[in-house]
Symmetry: C2
Subunit: 213 residues, 2 copies
Amino acid sequence: MTTGIGNSPGRTSYRHGDLRRALIGAGVTLAQEGGPNAVVLREATRRVGVSPNAAYRHFADRQALLDAVCSHCQALVARAIEADQATVPPTDSIESARLRFRAVGTGYLRFALEEPGQFQTAFSASSDMESATSAARAGDSGFTPFQLLTLALDDLVAVGLLPAERRPATEFLAWSAVHGLAELFIDGPLRALPDSVKQDLITRVVDMVEQGL
Amino acid sequence: MTTGIGNSPGRTSYRHGDLRRALIGAGVTLAQEGGPNAVVLREATRRVGVSPNAAYRHFADRQALLDAVCSHCQALVARAIEADQATVPPTDSIESARLRFRAVGTGYLRFALEEPGQFQTAFSASSDMESATSAARAGDSGFTPFQLLTLALDDLVAVGLLPAERRPATEFLAWSAVHGLAELFIDGPLRALPDSVKQDLITRVVDMVEQGL
DNA sequence: ATCGAATGTGTACGTTGTACACATAATGAG
DNA sequence: CTCATTATGTGTACAACGTACACATTCGAT
């Protein structure tokens, strides 16, 4: 019975039905529990209820699985950003653009604090500029975290909050500041800071970026 | 023969003489070649010419070895910063303070580009605020990278370039921006950028920090 | 109905971290 | 100097991991 798609562990059918997706799901959970190093191929297959080698029908090797998990985690980051952006009121279009820009940073950092393992995995190795815009890493809006940042900056220029001549490469500056704080929070020296201090630092880093661009 | 201290691999004596230091050295080389994950206990012992278990007389486990390697790598970062700071002329004390502050960022990022594996290892896990000021991680001046940054900021306040009321927590803001760029360079999406663009981004990030504090 | 392609299993090997028992060298007390 | 103690290195062993190879089962097209 239950020969259909999406068999759970403990299935009776020989075929799984959707093993690739199931393995990625298990991998995302492992990433959540312990970061990229915890994404262990054998453990993923175990949780899905399949033999270790079954994974090789869907992924060339462990790294390929990790890459897929990484993409999935980046999509989660995108969703976190979108969620923060969704809260800004569309009253004033200038102030709105400013707040939507800030929401990229706060959403990014909120996710880093809420799901450190997945965040670390999202940006662990193997992502170059091409893959930073790949569809597998997009959120509900269809944009990757990097694209959401780029769009927010374009809007800043459009409403006149950022001079066009300063625009080039600003995504990398903004990203650096926010990503760096996330790293220092997660396994850097700021790990043990009380949450209120962390929240304050988030605000101040985004302030710095807004002022420093 | 050669029963003294500091036996090399291929030694004839039963005792090694300075195994702890030798293992850290091998670990630092491994870190240089492949980052924190390449710091493999058995490989370190192999390179030193000793049986795997000999390491356990000097380190509780692999993590303890990695921690020591990490400290050593942070000391290398400190030295890189000190080297950049040493190049600023002491003519104008105000301009000098400003340049010494910038040198913290440029030295940090230069090291990240020159020795990505060691840089990654230096800031991989297990360092909290106490250990960020531990002596094992200091450079020639006796200061850790974090302490060098703190001192540079204090100087900025002393010469009047940074208002005292803005001083608190600025080390974390500056560190975030610079550390984030380093991470994006090393295994983030900026990995494949041509070197000239990277150099430009370094300047612009330090500009942003200087302006945004 | 049958054959090939897709997908899962079983067995096996090399590597890693590490526990436990043992061997040997340095050191200090008599 | 002798000898016991302590520090340090070795040998064997085991579980877990990634993954190669051969085999089994099922799906789909003819």
